[in-house]
Symmetry: D2
Subunit: 89 residues, 4 copies
């Protein structure tokens, strides 16, 4: 597996554990602010996993497409811009 | 359980399913852009779960504290501002 | 003027100066990455200004409405949740 | 000027006008929620301007560097990932 994707998969497994923990916190009726803080922490880790995936993508697909030719590069750049755009909103 | 928290717990269970799906996508070496899109979708749902929790918090704890007295209200307002601040960054 | 709003106004004036600087950077065809970094800095300051405004709002309007009565409080809480929701997306 | 940068400069001029308007709103002690909504609108437009700048950057500098050689491409990709990372946090 691509090392960027592997790193992302590791982070996603940690997030899954965090989510399980948050669901338990809610079931035990823990303090809202603590629940909210844990959700923020899971979001932050998901964002890092996404960076790993985008990193892998730019370093392989986008780069290869640019080296392949004008048109292929154009298409992949368009795609990555669309993702960054969705990400940022 | 508080209805806001219950709604959050439901969303978190959906997110857990999404995370499992994303881990599988990576293991099957699926296209990065599709993986990234799914991660963004999980982040969006986690944010909605967090809104449910904050909503529950403001409607119960913060409101009650404000009705209890100057100092109690002050403290809870400080706390909620800190969360919103962390959230937005 | 409300002190929270005054702090927000100060920050907004700084942002205005930053925006002028960024427009000049673009006109002088400066390096994209430097332009992007400056835009991120302006966004971060605008977010802080918004926190000042929300802080002022919760400490005055929302708090007063909650103290006024069930219905008034309900309405203001609904409004602040809607803002936090828009903010976070 | 690069068309992407030109589009960004146009948006930044609009943002400057919005900021002026928001400062006036605060001076006139307008309703916090309306001020906050306007700040959110300015942030959204700044994000779009940043996308224009990043778009210009990837289509020119990053692409050219990748075509120039392994090392040059590597360096620019590293840089763009760092920006996306800062952006997303």
């Amino acid at each position: 597996m691509n090392p960027g994707k592997e790193k992302a998969a590791m982070k996603l497994k940690t997030v899954r554990g965090q989510i399980d923990g948050i669901i338990r916190m809610i079931e035990e009726d823990r303090y809202c602010v603590d629940v909210s803080t844990q959700i923020l922490s899971a979001i932050a880790l998901l964002k890092k996993a996404n960076i790993d995936v985008l990193n892998a993508h730019i370093r392989s697909c986008v780069k290869d497409a640019i080296l392949e030719g004008e048109e292929e590069g154009e298409e992949k750049i368009e795609e990555i811009i669309t993702i960054i755009d969705k990400y940022i909103k």
